[in-house]
């Protein structure tokens, strides 16, 4: 995407640590998924940062637990950002984003806590692209724990979880939801399961059902299952201990996978640059007309176009806005 001068000024302010610029750039990434290459202009995040997804049915206590997690992570000197995703109304497109309310006691306690509410806008894929890009932006600003709150149903929400390196599934006794989590495959992607509202009856039963469901799975991998009473901050420290443990022993990035991803990204960028050059290239129009009239064949015309444009791919005659390099 070609960035306006205003956008570029925001980038400069972002680099200088201006939170208002960060907030504006989040809006930009959210409204224009094709603005993701903005990240190219920012230094990569310091190592050690992590994106953690918190999922579970509405009302299970995600936002309340997040309040406790934020406070606890701050005590351990992390800089914490939260992306709280709420569904929008399918009829009006509007949304009441109420998660901040439940985190109120820490929501604006200090500048090393940053909370942003997003609506899911009903677009599968679109949401996860936004959330991925925004998480990356927050990591680059210096928030080293990015917590993403999302309800665990619906395709768009499931896709969001793929953005997170660590997934916490929250359940509560007495709802009979376990079957649903199992069906949705959520139970298998969770690195940690939290039984919240442990002050309600039925905790033992729920725990046993979870263990049974997990043991029946193909890999029979049982993640830690913890109990919390989020509204009284009980068990929150143990959740943080476990999270930090999981984050610390995540496998390093696989270079073969990175090779694939670099090539994918390169392919995307190459295609984009090629189209930019083509836009300024009149001989392509002439060639296209010739092909349309049957005077040339498409393969010969393609070869000729490549031969003409490839040497220019790396030259300076690209629009100025694109030539700003990554630092």
């Amino acid at each position: 995407m070609a960035f306006s001068n205003d956008d570029l000024k925001l980038v400069e302010r972002f680099k200088a640590g201006d939170r208002r610029a960060l907030a504006r750039l989040i809006t930009l990434l959210d409204n224009h998924p094709d603005s993701r290459d903005l990240l190219e202009r920012l230094a990569p995040p310091a190592p050690g940062g992590a994106v953690i997804g918190i999922t579970g049915a509405p009302g299970v206590g995600k936002s309340t637990l997040l309040g406790g997690l934020i406070a606890g992570l701050r005590r351990r000197n992390h800089r914490v950002a939260v992306l709280a995703v709420d569904p929008e109304s399918p009829i009006t497109g509007g949304a009441l984003l109420g998660d901040r309310l439940r985190m109120a006691r820490v929501a604006a306690a200090d500048e090393d806590i940053f909370i942003r509410s997003l609506s899911s806008r009903g677009v599968a894929g679109g949401l996860s692209a936004s959330v991925h890009a925004i998480s990356q932006l927050l990591l680059r600003f210096g928030y080293d724990r990015v917590l993403v709150e999302t309800i665990g149903v619906g395709q768009a929400e499931m896709a969001v979880l793929r953005v997170a390196e660590v997934v916490v599934l929250m359940v509560m006794p007495g709802t009979g939801d376990e079957v649903q989590w199992e069906k949705a495959g959520l139970i298998e992607v969770a690195h940690l399961i939290v039984i919240n509202k442990a002050d309600h009856p039925g905790v033992e039963r729920l725990e046993q059902e979870l263990i049974d469901a997990l043991s029946a799975g193909q890999e029979s991998r049982v993640p830690p299952i913890l109990r919390t009473v989020a509204s009284r901050d009980e068990g929150v420290d143990a959740v943080i201990d476990n999270l930090e443990e999981i984050v610390s022993r995540r496998p390093g990035l696989n270079w073969l996978q990175m090779r694939t991803e670099i090539l994918q990204e390169a392919e995307m960028l190459l295609g984009r640059r090629l189209r930019e050059l083509a836009d300024q290239d009149e001989s392509l129009d002439d060639l296209a007309r010739a092909v349309a009239l049957g005077q040339r064949d498409i393969y010969g015309a393609t070869e000729e176009t490549l031969r003409r444009l490839l040497p220019r791919l790396d030259s300076q005659d690209r629009p100025a806005v694109r030539s700003v390099t990554r630092q």
Partner: protein, 153 residues
């Protein structure tokens, strides 16, 4: 929701800014004022008009409201007062906005029980508009749309 607002007729596109984003509004209550019915009515009306509405809850400080509004990148910040503390607290809200370098970037509106005599005082401080009891909800929606439309993104 129980209140059937006059804004429910709004179509999806009307909750959008010219640049294609959704209009984002924050509603807040500052101080010890425990009246939250009115602000919740307004929140639902704005949502039904297609906007993204963030409600902070009660007992906020001027500083926390301004920090939150900046993080959420809202075009409009609406404060609700029924306790009579608006004249004492609003100057502190504007002070925080100025400290944060966000003066003028976020439109501030006020609603609730505000004596007529105080309207001008609030407007002089920088409040864009005051909406007392009985304000047509449609007017609140239209005003916010018009204000949000002035932003580039």
């Amino acid at each position: 929701m129980s209140e059937k607002s006059d804004a429910t007729v709004a179509t999806e596109s009307t909750g959008r800014t010219p640049a294609g984003g959704r209009i984002r509004v924050m509603l807040a209550k500052v101080g010890l004022d425990g009246h939250d019915r009115g602000v919740k009515v307004v929140a639902r009306v704005l949502r039904d008009a297609g906007m993204e509405v963030i409600y902070t809850g009660m007992w906020q400080s001027p500083q926390s409201v301004v920090r939150s509004a900046i993080q959420e990148d809202v075009a409009v910040l609406g404060l609700s007062f029924l306790s009579g503390s608006h004249t004492a607290l609003m100057p502190r809200v504007f002070e925080e906005l100025s400290v944060a370098g966000a003066s003028g970037e976020i439109a501030v509106i006020v609603g609730g029980i505000i004596p007529k005599d105080d309207y001008q005082t609030l407007l002089d401080m920088g409040v864009a508009r005051v909406f007392g009891p009985g304000s047509p909800l449609r007017e609140i929606v239209d005003f916010i749309r018009q204000r949000a439309g002035r932003r580039s993104r």
